[in-house]
């Protein structure tokens, strides 16, 4: 979903920058609060970030000035909350632009908005909703991560369609969206399944830290941290 450097024309990249900046600044505030309270969460944060980097480097090209790949930011949102996930995605997207020339500096704002803001917030909302509805944890994780991934791509299609409307916004949106859908729907399902395994591992191994960070419900957390001990 990384929109390539220079692909977005003049008013659009600034607009996405401005929108993203507000939320990322809020995320930085949350992040500094979290690391003050739980310094031991720092390696988890860094590993999450590097993990997003590696996952979204496994890319398939897509002929929309962009590409398809797993995003990884859905899991980060479930574990760390959407605001912090957006900060991690910002750092990762900057590194991808600078270390891989994947995505770009001017398109950073648009990419942050789709992968770092819409994806995590959709994922987190679904995660909370499925916890409230008492859906099994693994199903909740799957839904959250798979739909976070898909919503990221829907957002990218909207951004591309707004920048290149052609005859009408709707036509252009359908063109971009259907090109993405071919590669992205299987990838989103794959990422969701992978996230179930990863989350299970995290709950077993880091249950105590996660439940003290109020990520997983006490029921899951206390039971699994006993397992780990």
């Amino acid at each position: 979903m990384h929109i390539m450097e220079g692909f977005l024309p003049h008013p659009w990249w600034e607009i996405w920058f401005a929108i993203s900046a507000v939320i990322v600044i809020f995320g930085i505030y949350k992040l500094s609060k979290l690391t003050k309270k739980f310094p031991e969460a720092k390696p988890l944060l860094a590993v999450m970030g590097a993990f997003i980097f590696v996952l979204s480097a496994l890319k398939l090209p897509s002929v929309t000035g962009s590409c398809s790949h797993p995003t990884g930011s859905g899991l980060a949102a479930v574990v760390l909350g959407p605001a912090i996930a957006s900060v991690l995605s910002t750092i990762v997207l900057l590194f991808q632009a600078l270390l891989l020339a994947h995505g770009g500096l001017t398109t950073l704002g648009a990419n942050i908005f789709s992968m770092g803001i819409v994806g995590p917030f959709v994922g987190y909302a679904l995660w909370i909703a499925s916890k409230k509805a008492r859906v099994p944890t693994s199903a909740g994780v799957f839904l959250a991560v798979a739909l976070a991934d898909l919503s990221t791509y829907v957002t990218t299609s909207v951004q591309l369609a707004l920048a290149f409307p052609g005859t009408s916004f709707a036509d252009s949106f359908i063109t971009f969206g259907s090109i993405f859908a071919v590669t992205q729907i299987p990838l989103a399902i794959g990422e969701g399944i992978l996230a179930i395994f990863l989350f299970d591992f995290l709950a077993k191994y880091k249950g105590k830290l996660l439940s003290s960070m109020n990520v997983i419900g006490l029921r899951v957390g206390s039971q699994s941290s006993e397992d780990a001990e």
Partner: protein, 265 residues
């Protein structure tokens, strides 16, 4: 897989290129002004000259091997070219330019579609090459140090430095595990490939998290207080270089203004 390896290669060039000793502030200033110019420019003329400028700077001043530069460029260029052909064909609607026969279907191509396709292609080319200039001549740590001087919040800098480190830890572990799986024929079929891939990603996460915790313990044992201190002995930017870049930028901006109304067809 290869993409993660590519980042290690780009990182190496950033430290070893012939311009690595010159001031990172100057390089960042030049790259960002070229980037902004090519993105803001309404006609393809200025992006083309920016592409030529940064290519010359990279190949003959920074001494980046031509083959490596081409390897970086060809992949995005092909994707953007295909995309721009699509834009040229499907996104025009004003004056018709020509009609083509697409599998028995008559398809009208419009003039503004072609102009949009061309402009987008060269805008991406100019922007990409100035991004490559920054990436291949300036090490990540220098960029992070500039960000630190620009008063970016401490927690952000620290997390960035840790993530930067873990990217390479990840890619080393990933490489080792990938070779081990490959030797045991883990990638010999489509289904096996999928299974091996998910095993790899899952284990990668576990291994690096453990390693991350050990690093954190080691850092704490050495008196880590939330600040990662890096030796800051970066060369100072020369005033003449900055002035020259400003002049060049202004000249290009004027050129962009003058060529504003050029149309391809």
């Amino acid at each position: 897989m290869s993409h993660v390896k590519l980042s290690a290669e780009i990182d190496r060039y950033a430290y070893t290129n012939a311009l690595s000793k010159s001031s990172p502030t100057t390089k960042l200033f030049l790259a960002l002004s070229l980037l902004l110019l090519s993105v803001m420019s309404p006609s393809p003329i200025v992006p083309i000259s920016i592409f030529l400028t940064s290519t010359v700077l990279l190949l003959s001043f920074a001494k980046i091997p031509c083959r490596f530069y081409l390897r970086l460029l060809w992949y995005p260029i092909i994707i953007v070219a295909v995309t721009c052909v699509i834009i040229a064909f499907f996104f025009g609607y004003q004056e018709p330019f020509t009609e083509v026969n697409l599998l028995g279907l008559k398809w009208t191509v419009f003039k503004d579609g072609i102009t949009l396709g061309f402009t987008t292609f060269f805008r991406v080319l100019g922007a990409l090459s100035s991004q490559f200039f920054l990436v291949l001549t300036t090490p990540m740590t220098s960029i992070i140090l500039i960000l630190r001087k620009a008063r970016v919040p401490k927690v952000l800098i620290e997390t960035s430095l840790l993530i930067y480190r873990y990217i390479f830890v990840f890619s080393e572990v990933m490489e080792t595990m990938h070779i081990a799986q490959d030797l045991r024929l883990g990638y010999s079929g489509w289904l096996k490939k999928l299974r091996s891939m998910s095993m790899l990603i899952g284990n990668l996460f576990i291994r690096t998290l453990e390693q991350g915790e050990r690093t954190f313990t080691a850092m704490n044992a050495r008196g880590y207080d939330g600040n990662i201190r890096v030796l800051e002995d970066q060369p100072k930017p020369s005033k003449t270089a900055l002035a020259a870049i400003t002049l060049f930028t202004v000249a290009l901006a004027i050129a962009a203004y003058l060529t504003m109304n050029i149309r391809i067809v």
